[in-house]
């Protein structure tokens, strides 16, 4: 009996690990291709505004009588691309800064931390709004997400790097005369892998939030374009007539955030043998 229980718990654990990864992969593949699966052109009025679901419009129509399903299928690409790009840049910059600070300590570490504190003192959304007045919406999202996220990444990476710097294997590498980049790449970075993975999930969710917020405020994609976040603000007035026009874009938006955050968490917690 105990054997079967162990078997069950193992497979359940495996399912918990693989589900988010599978969801993230499916989203990454499907979201850019969704536009081609749309039953109607997403920008054309095809029926009366706020038509409830039914018939040729499984999710009804929106404020201008456009097909909600088509718009949801077509509307995630820019949001997803921007968030992934912003998160990647934030994690790379933050990791590099953190390694520099944690490894050299002293003045460099203090400088990095002061810069980070300064950036963290400004709320990310305010930063994004200010940037959006000067820059195109997409650029503003990326810059704001990097400025808001990289200092956090730098801080956790820097702390852990400073700790690893004192461990025997790093000393041994230094005693072999390895160059600092070689020590960082071979001895330090592999042991930060999980930390960085977990952090990347958080950065992605933050970037997604910033991108969505700017779009909702009308600073991102402009009206005829289908976009999940834009749909939320467009369809809010008709929530009583066709709630699906509001729910349909909200679900994939939340789904993306969950899938990527959970994938990062999975990588961070995978037993070493399985990596």
């Amino acid at each position: 009996m105990s054997r079967s229980v162990a078997f069950l718990s193992l497979s359940a654990a495996r399912a918990r690990r693989t589900a988010p990864v599978a969801a993230a992969v499916v989203l990454l593949v499907c979201v850019p291709l969704g536009r081609y699966a749309a039953p109607h052109p997403p920008e054309r009025t095809v029926a009366a505004p706020w038509t409830p679901p039914g018939g040729r419009h499984p999710l009804g129509t929106d404020v201008l009588g456009r097909d909600v399903l088509s718009r949801v299928l077509a509307g995630g690409t820019q949001l997803l691309t921007l968030s992934l790009l912003a998160a990647a840049v934030a994690v790379v910059c933050g990791t590099a800064l953190g390694l520099a600070a944690g490894w050299s300590g002293g003045r460099v570490a203090r400088g990095v931390r002061a810069l980070g504190d300064l950036l963290l003192a400004v709320p990310a959304l305010v930063l994004a709004l200010v940037l959006a007045t000067a820059l195109p919406g997409a650029t503003a999202v990326v810059v704001a997400a990097v400025l808001a996220g990289a200092p956090l990444t730098a801080r956790v990476v820097g702390t852990q790097c400073a700790y690893l710097r004192d461990s025997g294997h790093v000393h041994a590498a230094v005693e072999r005369g390895e160059s600092t980049p070689a020590v960082l790449v071979h001895e330090v970075l592999p042991n930060l892998r999980r930390l960085v993975a977990a952090d990347a999930g958080l950065r992605l969710v933050t970037a997604l939030q910033i991108a969505a917020a700017l779009a909702v405020l009308g600073l991102g994609p402009q009206p005829p374009e289908p976009d999940w976040a834009l749909m939320l603000s467009e369809n809010l007035p008709g929530a009583a007539l066709n709630p699906w026009a509001l729910l349909a874009p909200a679900v994939p938006l939340a789904g993306c955030a969950w899938a990527f955050a959970a994938t990062a968490g999975t990588v961070a917690h995978t037993p070493r043998e399985a990596v």
Partner: protein, 560 residues
Amino acid sequence: MTTRTPAVREGAAVPLLAAEQLTVRRAHDGATVLPAVDLEIGDGQVLAVTGTSGAGKTTLLRALLDVLPDGLHRPAGTVRWRGAPVPAGRPARRWRRARCGWLGQDPAADLNPLWRVDRLIGEGFTGDTGARAQRVEALMQQLDLPPVLASRRAGEISGGQAQRVALARSLCADPELLVLDEPTSALDRATADLVAEAVRSRRGVPGRCVVLVTHDTRLAAELADRTLVLAVGPRRSTDAEAAPGPQLPAAPAREPCTATAVRLRSSVPPATSAVPATPAKGPPAPTEAPAPPPTAAAPTTEGASRTVAPAPSPAPVLSTRGLILLTPDGTPLLDAGDLDLPAGGWLAVTGPSGTGKTTLLHALAGRRPPAGGELLLHGHPLPRGTRSRDRRMLRAVQLAGQDTVTELNPAHTAGRSVARPLKVFHGMTGAPGRHRARELLEAVGLSTELSHRRPTELSGGQRRRVVLARALAAGPDVLLLDEPTAGLDPVSARLVLDLLDRLRRSGPAILTVTHDPGTAARADQVLHLTGRRLTPRPPTTPDLSPEQRTEPSGVRQHHG
């Protein structure tokens, strides 16, 4: 939890702790890590668990307490406490908390480096503050930990002190079950005796029992009511240590590895000889030591023979003049220490725990530069810090550190760790490098399968030998070894010492810091570090006869 009325105790027939068919497997491929084990410990008894390095001793303890690491699980077997089964999971956790004291194999890694020593020791104590302080003080005194240590943090104490702090911590609540994983591996003889005394005082006490993993046959013989020998047996093909080389004829006879993976041996009578054993043939005579290296008769390894450069001249390879060592907080450890390590020589440094032996090695290796004094390599000045040493100097001085947990990169396999110095110092990459790395691992007694394992999948003794192989890979002129045989079973320890003995005839001079008299006995000269001075050999211990010193089976065998 500490209540123990006689009424609670069951009849004498029921063992306090029993395990039936305890089995451990790896989760991802189902390989058996620990074949079915039965054990029983009666009231007031001490069970010693011995066996070769990598046989699963630590895994057995973890399986007993249900604290197996990720990736291992216990598919079968029951643990009984006073006859009642202890199911895995939450009941086991409650049982552990209420009944067990646990001392891990790597105490330095187990202790929170930010906690003060007194807080660490007293954490499990349930009485009021005053009683706790008294108990902590008594334990520290019992284990010869100086009172000033109480206010230090765990990150600031030596390896041997950490081990005793961890032991005091596990003893503090007077647990009914005490589980000790190599409690004396980092301790000198006198301190180890204190630990033995602490364990002995629990013997025969009703309602108390001890499980003790040790390689120290003397300790096991003195303390144990029963001995459980774990043998590698059927797993030999996958997990075993490399078969002992032909130079170890006596080994199997002493430590029979039976095909039945595990067997119980009844009580071993206490050892008759309490030889305080030590090192050193009489006065230090370094110059006569280096045996003529000629004729490649000795099976030296290639990397070592390459470094033969300055033939065995009387000139020392490494010397220090007026070396001053301080602890990180500025307490002096060594005033004006002079030592000379001749080519092909073997120098052992012994001394009580916490006197700065590891700091000495770190200073020589450049890891923690000394506060003052001069270092000389082949008669030329050697810069204090690694940053200012050139590659030739770095290669020449190699350190194999004490803490095997942090000494190896957790992300790299054993083979990769060993291959790296080959690439850096000798430009050996790809297949030749991997081949050479496997050769080196085999030379220290690790089978080639182990080269694909990461440190977390290796036992403490196996990790120690990977660290040694990595240091050898550089082809050093001076090998600095910090407790090279701690955590090794006698057979593996002898294999390692024999290897070093062969290597030094044509290769590196060796400087070891050790608590193990058997290791010190291999040295040409023994320096005792105590009272901030390096003095030739310990003044208190008598010499052994030359026969004993030269006997190649030095490691602890004479106690067994």
